[in-house]
């Protein structure tokens, strides 16, 4: 309206006024270019790894420990390459991933159902709630002896340990997420008369999603850790090679480069799953709701 003459007679309409006020008050949305985002994500991560490798190399060169105890990064890399070439590495990664995912999937179902039951039924709250907290702090290694006694040296033992390590995180995530639903959302649902499945679908489930996702994320790292504990202890020819077994064979053969190579594999898989699946999911959910600063 800047171009109009000063003595205009046409009154400003409500819609125009509102439009101008909106333009003044609207919160600008910034969208960063994809490649810049990529650079900002990759550079700090790569630099951190490089710094660590440099420090390691320095310690190796200084002979802080004899080289059979602390091999140089190059030796570990060579061992890693050799394992990859012989096919052990991919076999171990695939076996471990399969076991972790099977256990995680079962934990997801069990944890979600249990969490929902505890969140909905007040009778269960005090008892099962505190039991879950206790389970959460129980190292999942402690389930290995029972698992071996019940299931022998089979995949079932490993799955058992993974499920018991992961499901408390899922259940706690569900309970926390339901507890923290904004009362405003509940009041709105009530005033709109939402009941039954519609109440869950349109209000409760989406409202609980961020808390549920962070429970899922935590449960993934718990199941990966539990898996390694199980694989390190449960070793037998019928079981097939996993990353944990690879690490243990390094110990057995006093092959430190192999042990460290296996550790790097374990670290890498856990990291990749977290960064490739859980973080983007979480960021997407938070960004949509305006809960992410950047």
């Amino acid at each position: 309206m800047a171009g109009e003459p000063a003595g205009r007679v046409r009154p400003v309409t409500l819609a125009e006024l509102e439009e101008d006020l909106d333009a003044l008050q609207a919160i600008p949305t910034t969208s960063e270019r994809a490649w810049r985002r990529l650079i900002r994500a990759v550079v700090p991560r790569v630099s951190a790894v490089l710094a660590l490798v440099l420090l390691w190399q320095l310690l190796a060169v200084l002979h802080v420990k004899p080289s059979y105890a602390l091999p140089a990064p190059g030796d570990v890399w060579a061992s890693l390459v050799q394992q990859a070439r012989e096919g052990h590495l991919s076999e171990a990664i695939l076996n471990s991933l399969r076991r972790a995912l099977v256990g995680y999937a079962i934990a997801l179902v069990v944890g979600t159902l249990l969490g929902m039951a505890v969140a909905r039924l007040r009778v269960l709250r005090a008892g099962v709630g505190s039991l879950l907290a206790a389970l959460l702090s129980l190292p999942s290694v402690t389930w290995v002896p029972i698992g071996i006694l019940w299931f022998g040296l089979t995949d079932a033992t490993i799955t058992f340990v993974v499920v018991l390590g992961a499901f408390p995180s899922i259940a706690r995530g569900v309970i926390g997420a339901v507890d923290q639903i904004d009362p405003v959302v509940l009041r709105l649902a009530r005033s709109l008369g939402a009941r039954g499945p519609a109440l869950y679908w349109h209000f409760l489930l989406p409202a609980a999603l961020p808390g549920y996702l962070s429970g899922m994320q935590q449960a993934w790292s718990f199941s990966w850790r539990s898996l390694m504990a199980a694989e390190l202890i449960a070793i037998s020819p019928q079981l097939g090679l996993g990353l944990g077994q690879l690490l243990d064979s390094g110990r057995e053969l006093a092959d430190m480069p192999l042990a460290l190579a296996a550790m790097i594999g374990i670290l890498a898989v856990g990291l990749v799953i977290d960064e490739a699946i859980f973080r983007p999911l979480e960021r997407m959910v938070l960004r949509r709701r305006g809960l992410l600063a950047r």
Binding site: L14, L21, V184, V185, R187, L192, G193, P206
Partner: protein, 252 residues
């Protein structure tokens, strides 16, 4: 205003007690009130006067301890002080929500939402999410959502209290236009006496603890009314005076 044959809302000797025994609080005390069809009623009072309780009773979210609440216009639409938009939905989806809840067909949903967003001047922001809107825009989206319920009765609990004065003034005009166009019955709760006089056909003053109807004024000034007009100011001053007397009496 003369009372129509069948009032939209009738409260007869309604009392509401919260809690029991020594902790019991009398929120409303024998409130009788009638709201005519198509009326714009404003309820003012200091905090703790049971304004929100009264709305909850009319909305059917709570039941009176004693007395009777009759609402003859079906399920009312409610608007709160906070917009209560769902943060995971776009403006469009938020407005569409009541239509989805009553399983309206897709065509109808599209037409209705488009019309309502045009009504509240938010069509350009249909795909934004609530956190990308200003306070006034959010409250307009909430208004559009309330209209999407296609209720004949609109209950508003201090809906503009958190907005700046300029935005609030624009929303008053929006609301009055919508009220007239849709022949709604509106019960508008506020602690802002000027707002009540600017909007209402009638202004009812509730006392505090317990809430009772202290006084009622019929506002006969023609619309549009301006907040700055001497008539509005005079009447607002009169109501404020009375409000202060009530506060002093109850505060002792």
């Amino acid at each position: 205003m003369t009372v129509a044959l069948t009032p939209a809302i009738r409260l007869s000797e309604v009392s509401k007690v919260y809690g029991t025994g020594r902790d019991a609080v009398l929120a409303l005390d024998r409130v009788s009130l009638e709201v005519a069809r198509g009326e714009f009623l404003c309820i003012v009072g200091a905090s703790g006067c049971g304004k929100s309780t009264l709305l909850s009773l009319v909305a059917g979210l709570e039941r009176p301890t004693v007395g009777e609440v009759e609402v003859g216009l079906g399920r009312p639409a409610l608007m709160f002080q906070e917009p209560a938009l769902l943060p995971w939905l776009t403006t469009w989806r938020n407005v569409e929500l009541p239509l989805r809840l009553r399983r309206a067909p897709r065509q109808e949903r599209r037409r209705t939402v488009q019309r309502l967003l045009d009504t509240v001047n938010l069509a350009a922001f249909a795909s934004r999410r609530p956190h990308e809107l200003s306070g006034g825009m959010r409250q307009r989206a909430a208004l559009a959502r309330a209209l999407a319920q296609e209720a004949q009765l609109l209950l508003m609990d201090e809906p503009f209290a958190a907005l700046d004065a300029i935005t609030r003034d624009l929303l008053h005009d929006d609301l009055l236009a919508i009220w007239q166009a849709n022949q709604l019955t509106v019960v508008f709760v506020t602690h802002n006496v000027h707002e009540a006089v600017r909007l209402g056909d009638r202004v009812v003053l509730l006392t505090s603890r317990p809430g009772r109807v202290a006084c009622a004024w019929t506002v006969e000034m023609p619309r549009p009314r301006s907040l700055d007009s001497p008539e509005v100011a005079r009447m607002a001053a009169e109501i404020t005076q009375r409000l202060h007397e009530e506060i002093r009496r109850r505060g002792r």
